[in-house]
């Protein structure tokens, strides 16, 4: 697996806390084609509901519910009105094989586990179950998507950037993979760490290490961190002269307040769980999630017999409360489905399993297949 780029694989944990390989192919999931088709349809529906939510938030200027600083608001609205191009995202779903898939959260800005879903599990399937199928066209769709948006970009050259402070290498590998799909679509790509990005104060533009201007920047670095940092205001002001991917308007989707907005707009929708901002409302059993939390950090579950709380550094920006619907359990592990959307179409699936109720950085990636009927 390392030969395919999986260098990071932080060891996962099993129920007793013992180490478990991050890439665990000793087990896999089998999904029926009709299940896949139905989840695929749900994902595209969720995606369009999310775009509707962005439109709603921009029109009603409800940025405060998202804890977004006021100076960024106009930038978000303009980015949305221009329809700055988006590339990809990952919906995390609860699915137990019977009822409809439920949206747990949407990683719209900096989704990871991309290489595992797009490449590694495909190689596994091809080797172990060559006749079976897999819900996976992520790679092809990424190439297609870069071809599509190529015309909307300021130039044919894209800079790909990640934080060199990530010691695991996961961000760098994921970025390099994206770079490869863009190159395959015919775009010229340059990779450099986000710490190396330069700002030319006279010409008011971002430059790379060759001091050449950066026209399009694909960042594997969350917007809420970008705007909080020294060059943050330059980044927002540089739009649309410099195009940023994912676009600024995705700040409204990568924020858990989205869950409450969706529920407000579509109460009782079968793919949603009730969710509220700042207050559990009428919920008696709920999960408290920080608006901007990552990797399952700072999650608190309030439900008889399930009380759990994870540690972390998030939550200063406030919380969102979502009805508690425990992940189903199979052989002691609980899977969460990561359904990928590329452009506006559903592209594939990656499953991550945990022993506990929260899919955190101790989750293991488990491949899946669709048996030939």
């Amino acid at each position: 697996m390392e030969s395919q780029g999986l260098v990071y694989g932080t060891p996962a944990r099993d129920g007793t806390g013992a180490a478990r390989p991050y890439w665990d192919e000793s087990v896999h999931y089998v999904l029926e084609m009709d299940e896949v088709l139905s989840i695929e349809a749900d994902v595209e529906l969720l995606h369009s509901m999310c775009l509707g939510a962005v439109d709603n938030v921009v029109i009603t200027e409800r940025y405060k519910d998202f804890g977004i600083p006021e100076w960024v608001w106009p930038g978000i609205a303009e980015s949305w009105r221009r329809r700055d191009p988006h590339v990809y995202g990952r919906f995390d779903l609860r699915y137990d094989g019977s009822g409809p898939a439920k949206l747990l959260e949407y990683n719209a800005d900096t989704p990871t586990s991309l290489l595992e879903a797009a490449v590694l599990q495909w190689f596994w399937k091809t080797e172990v179950f060559p006749d079976d199928d897999q819900w996976n066209s992520i790679h092809e769709k990424l190439v297609e998507r870069f071809t599509e948006i190529g015309d909307q970009l300021p130039s044919n050259e894209l800079h790909f950037t990640w934080s060199s402070a990530d010691p695991t290498g996961e961000d760098h590998v994921t970025t390099a993979y994206l770079q490869e799909t863009a190159a395959e679509s015919g775009l010229d790509t340059i990779g450099l760490a986000i710490e190396e990005i330069g700002w030319d104060p006279l010409l008011k533009r971002f430059v790379d290490l060759e001091e050449a201007p950066m026209n399009t920047i694909l960042k594997l670095y969350p917007w809420e961190w970008v705007i909080d940092e020294e060059f943050g205001r330059h980044a927002v002001a540089s739009l649309p002269h410099t195009m940023w991917i994912e676009p600024l308007w995705k700040m409204l989707l990568s924020n858990k307040a989205l869950l409450a907005i969706l529920w407000e707009m579509h109460p009782g929708h079968p793919n949603l769980l009730p969710a509220f901002i700042d207050d559990p409302g009428m919920l008696t059993e709920y999960v408290r999630k920080p608006r901007l939390g990552r990797e399952g950090a700072n999650i608190q579950i309030v439900a008889p017999g399930y009380e759990t709380e994870t540690g972390g550094v998030y939550g200063r920006e406030g919380y969102v409360y979502q009805a508690f619907d425990p992940l189903p359990e199979f052989d002691g592990y609980r899977p969460a489905l990561g359904a990928w959307i590329v452009g506006d179409s559903s592209a594939g699936l990656g499953i991550r399993e945990t022993a506990g109720l929260v899919t955190d950085d101790g989750a293991a990636f488990v491949p899946h297949r669709i048996p030939q009927t």
Partner: protein
Amino acid sequence: MTDTHDPDKPDVPEPDETPEPRRGQMRFQDAETTKPREPTLAEQRARRKAIEEEAERELQEAAERVQVERKAKTRRRVFIGSGVTVGVVALVATWYVAATPDEVTANCVDNNGVLAANENVCDENYARSVPGSYYSGGFWFIPLATGGFGQYQYNYGGTVGPGGRVTGGTATAPSGRTTVKTSSGKTVQRGGFGISSGGSKGGSKGGSGGS
């Protein structure tokens, strides 16, 4: 093919196999090996123009300051009944009258005119980032490990002599058509994103990706 070109035949590409789709480049840059490329002509012009505009803006601001100060002074002077003299305009003028060289080296010196061990202490971005630092009277005051403050400012155009003592030059930043170079030669700011090594921002983290 060009030699045997038939002028009567229209220049139509041969209907051969569909062209191989073009694959884009993949390049990587890192701070150790990547060197700035030569600026394009347009960039050099734009940079010069930006510098000029900056200078013009500064000049205008200085002129406005003069106006304001003059007003303040006239108002005060009305009481003491003295005439109006303008000092600042003269100062502004010296920036332009004096034959400024095209390039001026900025040396970071302390209040004794001796080169600072760390030239960054004169750099506003760096100085601001030092806890407890402040700017006063043209100097950056940087807390010293031994207690107290060191006072630092850039000296423009001075000559470095024995013992790192800088003679000549001025503490007033030159304007106009002058390029200012520090000894490390930086004109582009970096490090405004992400976690710089040794920084404390954000605490420990394992990956900036999604959950």
